[in-house]
């Protein structure tokens, strides 16, 4: 199977004047296309930092990162934005929707930055909302929706540009267990359709949906990294 993500000796160091914080201490990891990987570990162990680097939102201090076989380390900010836009879908713990815009407008957002025309944007966004079962809420704004519904809007947004990988950072962390299960069922379904998923969580039950579980502690990979 083809390797979509390859991390080699990834380090993230925050230099705060006197104290140097080494958040990631050399991570080697690869993710295959179509794989469903969960990253687990205690709070503060560097999971989000790692996921942000995988998602091209952040840059490693040291190490090599190959996405689709291409070295990402020396790409410009605009090139990284382009990768985030077309190849990566993000789902956050706190949803990160724009509160002033309707659900469908939120879902359209990535398409706005890839130059898709207005009517086409809307059609694609509505289709995605249908996939997550929210067609009836298309014109509602996030504050009018439950947490579970907001997270489904966020998933629709992550999917709308047909990305190579979905990255989810504790997507059930802010949800009650029932909504959490609903969300995980969606991920399961997406995985069955062939979507690559990397998901951060500290709940065993959530990690149970994944094919492989990676464990990180104090910035070091303890288990599942290969």
């Amino acid at each position: 199977m083809k390797e979509l993500i390859i991390l080699q000796g990834i380090k993230k160091i925050y230099d705060l004047g006197k104290n140097r914080v080494e958040v990631l201490k050399g991570i080697d990891l690869s993710v295959n296309q179509g794989e469903f990987v969960a990253i687990m570990g205690p709070s503060g162990s560097g999971k989000s930092t790692l996921l942000n680097i995988i998602g091209c939102l952040d840059r490693p201090t040291e190490g090599r990162y190959l996405f689709e076989g291409n070295d990402v380390s020396n790409k410009s900010n605009d090139e990284l934005a382009e990768i985030r836009n077309r190849k990566i879908g993000f789902v956050f713990q706190s949803f990160n929707l724009l509160p002033g815009m309707s659900a469908v407008k939120n879902v359209e957002l990535p398409l706005l930055y890839s130059g898709v025309s207005g009517p086409e944007r809307r059609a694609l966004a509505l289709e995605m909302l249908q996939r997550v079962g929210l067609s009836h809420r298309a014109e509602h704004k996030p504050p009018e929706m439950s947490g579970g519904e907001q997270q489904r809007v966020a998933i629709a947004r992550a999917l709308v540009n047909n990305p190579l990988v979905i990255l989810a950072d504790e997507p059930t962390g802010n949800l009650d267990s029932r909504s959490g299960t609903e969300i995980m069922e969606i991920f399961k379904h997406l995985h069955q359709e062939g979507t690559t998923i990397v998901l951060v969580t500290h709940e065993r039950a959530v990690a149970g949906y994944a094919e492989r579980v990676i464990t990180i502690k104090d910035g070091v990979c303890m288990d599942g990294c290969f």
Partner: protein, 401 residues
């Protein structure tokens, strides 16, 4: 990038903070309105003076005592200035073939009485040539004749305001009024000329110059109003007058000959400076408005840090964010500019309706200029906040609450 979508986002974000957006725009509204208004007052003054001086009649030269008239301080009569007298005017006409008329003019004020009504008004002493020289029309009765002047007849021609105040609807022709201590017969009524810059041009009584000299007990003329025979004769007439008067004034040029063009020229220069200064002051208020925009945009960028983070996370490039905030500040300033035009033009047009002595004339170049300047202000003062927004690190922006 979808420009319509960005415009929509801008308008939405402005609508979300209506009062704040309005207050921000107010700076630009006032700035643009001020530019348009102040320029319209300058233009109004220019137009007023042009028609006023144009109303002198064509090919007119005005000879006034003193050498500083062009600089504004007319015949304030320093000891070395010799007065202009009746014979100066007579000789100018007699000696120069280029001169059609030369009218000795005396101006003063006096009480005029008719029965129990009276009024303090301007008394202007002229000769029969004054009316054709200045293109003045008589509404009823007749103008002064040479006989009236030569034989020092106490006759007068009334301006409309004086006629209305003293006579009301009664026909004044042939009636006798009192100017000072003497009686004068009314022989004519002037055509209405109107009010400009608060000065009533119909509040005047014309009498023969020799009579006015007796009335005010002076032989010093206010001016000599000369009409050249044609446009080509103006320069020659001026030369003749100069030579003659220098000769009569013992070799000293202690008088000034003003032509209509020169007066227009001098006034035009003064008005250009005045208009430029007014526009400049107004432009400063526009810049202050721009600083207001920058201030609010900085607040807005800060408040929307999270939004910027989200947009970047889903693929917005730095220039997309830059453009969004630049459009927003430009929308504020252009909307404010449109409001300012509305305010400036309507107030500019309303002023003459309420303030009679202040003629205004909307200069359309100032409207266009103010509008573009306001758009420019929005872009200029929007760049810094927009750049700040564009350069946010996506991770830092996303973590912002």
């Amino acid at each position: 990038m979808d420009v319509f979508e960005i415009l929509k986002v801008s308008f939405d974000s402005l609508k979300a903070n209506k009062l704040r957006s309005f207050l921000t725009m107010l700076g630009v509204i006032i700035g643009v309105a001020a530019v348009i208004l102040l320029v319209s007052i300058g233009e109004g003054a220019r137009r007023y003076i042009r028609t006023e001086l144009g109303g002198l009649g064509t090919n007119i030269l005005i000879v006034v005592p003193g050498k500083t008239a062009k600089e504004g301080g007319t015949h304030m009569g320093t000891s070395s200035v010799r007065k202009l007298v009746y014979d100066d005017a007579v000789l100018i006409k007699k000696r120069s073939v280029h001169v059609q008329y030369a009218v000795p003019v005396i101006v003063g004020t006096s009480w005029v009485k008719y029965r129990n009504k009276n009024r303090d008004t301007y008394i202007v002493g002229v000769t029969e040539d004054y009316f054709p020289a200045r293109n003045l029309s008589i509404e009823s009765g007749r103008a002064l004749g040479s006989n009236d002047v030569e034989t020092k007849r106490r006759v007068c021609i009334l301006g409309r305001t004086v006629k209305r105040d003293l006579f009301g609807d009664v026909n004044p022709l042939g009636a006798t009024i009192k100017i000072g201590d003497e009686r004068y017969r009314v022989i004519g009524i002037m055509q209405k000329k109107g009010v400009t810059l608060g000065y009533d041009l119909d509040d005047v009584v014309f009498i023969p110059t020799p009579v006015a000299m007796d009335l005010f007990d002076t032989d010093a003329l206010f001016n000599i109003t000369v009409k050249a025979r044609g446009e080509q004769s103006i320069d020659a007439a001026k030369r003749d007058i100069r030579k003659l008067l220098i000769h009569r004034h013992a070799g000293r040029e202690d008088f000034t000959i003003l032509s209509q063009d020169e007066m227009l020229d001098v006034m035009g220069k003064v008005l250009n400076i005045m208009t430029a200064v007014l526009a400049g002051i107004a432009a400063i208020s526009l810049i202050v408005g721009g600083i207001g925009i920058m201030n609010i945009m900085l607040v807005s960028v800060r408040e929307r840090t999270k939004e910027i983070g989200i947009r970047k996370a889903v693929g917005a490039k730095n220039r997309d964010i830059l453009f969004q905030f630049l459009v927003e500040s430009t929308v504020v300033s252009v909307t404010g500019g449109a409001g300012g035009i509305l305010l400036g033009v309507s107030v500019g047009m309303a002023i003459p309706l309420f303030v009679k002595f202040l003629p205004t004339s909307i200069a359309w170049w100032s409207v266009v200029l103010a509008f573009f300047f306001s758009a420019l202000v929005g872009i200029f003062f929007g760049v810094y906040p927009a750049r700040k927004a564009a350069l946010y690190d996506p991770i830092v922006a996303l973590r912002h609450e």
